[in-house]
């Protein structure tokens, strides 16, 4: 079972303290490619939440059978097989949703967030905790990608919720800046994503430093991660 405190720690780590995108800086490749608008960012994150929860619970359940020396190939095998199974099940049973999320699911296979969480958390913790870890790491990614996508979309093309009609056919994107807005191409290209992501990281560090100052503590040391992006 899971205690309240454990749950709080897992949720806090996933959403803020060890946020995959702005603290661990993992999964940059899909992040850069997909966040040209907010809807895409949210959709990729939703697909990632599902895959991470499934992968974490599978590895956590099998963790006692996996020899330490070959854990990485086994993890990759498990993650790749499960992603494919999720992809097939989506396609067969939730076809409408698949048409929307489908293109993002193969992207996740290449996303090292999944492997990183499996290695760092699920391999050492029971299934229930691991499931929550997968979900909350995904939630952390969700709000970061949504924010980044919204900023890029707003600066780049002056709209919000572009592509929402793919998800809910009755809704239309909102034009915020006047139609004559010429667009700001840099924001839509990968360099713009890097710059804005840098701003987000700076903002997060500033918030943490301010909170630490108030509490008269040392600011938290940055989390060191392996070189997987």
């Amino acid at each position: 079972m899971i205690t309240r405190d454990e749950f709080k720690t897992i949720a806090g780590n996933g959403v803020w303290k060890q946020n995959t995108s702005i603290v661990q800086i993992l999964g940059l490749c899909p992040l850069l490619a997909v966040t040209t608008n907010m809807v895409n960012g949210v959709m990729l994150s939703l697909a990632t939440i599902i895959v991470m929860a499934v992968a974490n619970v599978a590895v956590a359940s099998l963790r006692n059978f996996i020899p330490h020396e070959i854990r990485i190939p086994v993890f990759i095998l498990i993650v790749a097989a499960l992603v494919t199974v999720v992809d097939l099940l989506f396609n067969a049973n939730l076809h409408e949703l698949y048409l929307v999320l489908g293109i993002f699911i193969p992207l996740i296979v290449t996303n090292c967030i999944v492997l990183a969480r499996v290695e760092a958390f699920a391999a050492k913790n029971p299934p229930l905790q691991s499931t929550f870890d997968g979900i909350f790491m995904g939630v952390g990614m969700l709000w970061t990608l949504a924010l980044l996508g919204a900023m890029r979309e707003f600066l780049g093309s002056g709209t919000l919720f572009g592509g929402i009609d793919m998800v809910f056919p009755s809704l239309q994107p909102i034009q915020i800046l006047p139609e004559s807005y010429p667009g700001f191409l840099l924001a839509l290209l990968p360099p713009g994503a890097f710059i804005l992501l840098g701003c987000l990281i700076a903002w997060k560090n500033w918030m943490d430093a301010r909170a630490a100052q108030r509490a008269n503590r040392q600011p938290p040391a940055p989390v060191a991660t392996a070189g997987c992006h």
Binding site: R63, N64, F65, I66, P67, H68, E69, I70, R71, P73, V74, L77, I78, A81, T84, V85, L88, L89, N91, A92, N93, H95, A123
Partner: protein
């Protein structure tokens, strides 16, 4: 991970690890094949449904009574249609009589690359319908060839072709008005409709020339 490490010789350790990995591979490959076989019918059904949805847009399903998806001919790469790869052509029949051919065509000279079309031509040479299935034309400018993006919802641009035939409309008329033809276009984006019109004319001519042979062809039964 595992409890107290037992002492193994190096070969013994290697064999044990290999066996474990092997079991994992077997189990997950099995899981994968199981999921594939279990979901296959549903996935094929929805793929067929999607195809039919597209075909229904260019040819009303009330006009034929055969199983369209089973009455097909595999076309080799056809330069006349701009097709560089083999595609599938569908034959619509009613009471065994030819009704229409439904096939793909590509306009190679769009403003931003190829524009893929699906075209239905009736047995009498009339265009039953044309739809754009894939394109990269400028959003908000040339993309009105796609029904969903056309601001004129009552009579989308692409529906102008419906009912046109070589017998009624001279070759020189299968052009946008700017080029002396009869087709409307939106100011500011003529390259896209020009490319589509050209491709449709070529498709109709190709269907005219090959129709009898295509309907007679035994074709590929599924």
């Amino acid at each position: 991970m595992t409890s107290a490490p037992k002492e193994f010789s190096a070969p013994g350790m290697a064999a044990r690890t290999a066996a474990t990995l092997f079991i994992f591979v077997i189990v997950f490959t099995g899981l994968l094949s199981g999921a594939y076989l279990w979901t296959k019918p549903a996935i094929e059904a929805s793929a067929a449904e999607e195809k039919m949805k597209l075909v229904n847009e260019v040819l009303p399903s009330s006009e034929y009574d055969n199983l369209l998806l089973d009455d097909t001919v595999t076309l080799p790469p056809t330069p006349e249609l701009g097709l560089a790869e083999p595609t599938t052509l569908y034959r619509a029949r009613k009471d065994g009589q030819p009704v229409a051919l439904v096939f793909e065509a590509v306009a190679p000279d769009g403003y931003a690359g190829k524009i893929k079309l699906i075209v239905a031509v009736r047995a009498d040479g009339q265009v039953a319908g044309v739809r754009v299935t894939q394109h990269k034309e400028t959003p908000g400018l040339g993309d009105y060839v796609e029904v969903k993006k056309d601001k004129n919802k009552a009579h989308p641009w692409i529906t102008q072709f419906t009912g046109m035939s070589l017998a009624q409309v001279a070759d020189s008329e299968w052009k946008v008005k700017k080029d002396g033809g009869r087709l409307d276009y939106y100011a500011g984006a003529t390259v896209t409709p020009r490319a589509v019109s050209k491709a449709v004319l070529k498709a109709v001519k190709w269907a005219e020339a090959n129709r009898n042979q295509l309907f007679a062809n035994a074709g590929a039964t599924k």
